[in-house]
């Protein structure tokens, strides 16, 4: 596996420029969305992507997600961030161990708890054969989502307000991923969300109100 050195000022190429972050609330306006999609509309390529087009009715062989391990530059900095913004709690930090699939590399793992999900997040410092910390790329995943306690629209709004009061700067939201005004941004899933970059530019969604099979069935019955 190739290893690319990244300096301390590395900014991943997928990070949304601040200008776009600031104007992103305009996506809650359906006329703006229609304007952005005008070329697709005029060319006849535009299509629906609504949740209601894809019914999910059967349980799969998987019940839920359990653990996510992400590389971080500095466990102490990241731990402090997840504790401060998300109220996560520290479970344990282990001694260095061999990387599970990168020969010669070592990892140090910090296990973090959510309120109802023990050790769901693992903050991992990665060191190469020379013992140097590897700066994470932030280019393996787009984002991951942590559900806000309460799981309602207002809980997400309250979370975002509290985070901003603490000095955290959101990159997008609060929006709801549907097309219902005034908070819908035209996306799918029904989840109300606010997004923040963590200290390593991992994009984190804090969410609630995700659509489920049950509320999909209810809406379908009404239609």
């Amino acid at each position: 596996m190739t290893q690319i050195k990244r300096d301390a000022n590395y900014i991943p190429p997928n990070v949304l420029p601040r200008t776009l972050q600031l104007i992103s609330p305009v996506l809650k306006n359906k006329w703006v969305r229609n304007l952005i999609l005008l070329p697709s509309t005029l060319s006849g390529k535009r299509f629906s992507n609504k949740t209601a087009d894809y019914g999910v009715f059967q349980p799969s062989r998987v019940s839920h997600l359990d653990q996510l391990s992400i590389y971080v530059k500095d466990i102490a900095t990241s731990r402090k961030w997840y504790e401060a913004i998300a109220g996560m709690t520290h479970s344990r930090t282990c001694e260095a161990e061999a990387h599970p699939y990168r020969a010669g590399f070592t990892i140090k793992c910090c296990y973090m708890n959510a309120k109802a999900h023990d050790e769901c997040l693992v903050l991992v410092e990665l060191r190469n054969e020379q013992g140097e910390i590897i700066t994470p790329s932030a280019m393996s995943f787009h984002h991951f989502a942590l559900e806000i306690d309460g799981n309602q629209f207002q809980d997400v709004v309250n979370f975002a307000t509290a985070a901003r009061k603490k000095g955290f700067v959101s990159s997008y939201g609060v929006v709801t991923h549907n097309d219902i005004p005034p908070n819908g941004d035209g996306e799918t899933g029904g989840n109300t969300a606010v997004y923040f970059y963590d200290p390593d530019y991992h994009l984190i969604e804090f969410c609630g109100t995700m659509d489920t099979i049950e509320n999909y069935k209810e809406r379908r019955a009404v239609q």
């Binding site: 653990q67 996510l68 590389y71 050790e119 035209g186 969604e205």
Partner: protein, 136 residues
């Protein structure tokens, strides 16, 4: 305060290849797609998504193809899914064998908790993301 890890959205090279992989192995279902011809946000971000559901929430994992940027495996070490029951565990192992996948028995991280009655194995998806399946 957050209550749980809810969903993961990760980069792939080929959306259809990955969708087929997760459907065949784990019976995950396509719950929606986002495309630059259907979504203003996707148009602006130059990317396309396939949402996959475990069968209760609208999506649990989501596959993303960025049309310009190349992804790598230098920020995600692994993620874990909990298998529904022992029948599902056996079926997944059978599918993995049919699909010619190599698996690593046991937990991905040596320091992760492992109880005597749990069973776990790990494998790579078509984009070399490491996934752990666990039966508790």
């Amino acid at each position: 305060m957050v209550s749980k890890f809810q969903h993961l959205v990760f980069y792939v090279n080929d959306l259809e290849e990955s969708r087929a992989f997760f459907s065949q192995l784990l019976d995950l279902q396509l719950s929606a797609l986002n495309h630059p011809d259907s979504s203003a946000a996707m148009k602006m971000a130059n990317q396309e998504m396939r949402f996959m559901s475990f069968g209760f929430y609208h999506h649990d994992i989501c596959l993303v193809k960025h049309r310009k940027l190349q992804f790598d495996n230098d920020s995600l070490m692994h993620y874990t899914m909990v298998i529904r029951d022992s029948n599902a565990y056996d079926k997944i192992l059978e599918n993995a064998q049919t699909m010619g996948m190599s698996i690593k028995v046991g937990r991905m991280i040596k320091s992760a908790k492992m109880e005597n009655h749990w069973k776990a194995f790990c494998f790579q998806d078509p984009n070399n993301h490491w996934i752990e399946l666990i039966l508790k």
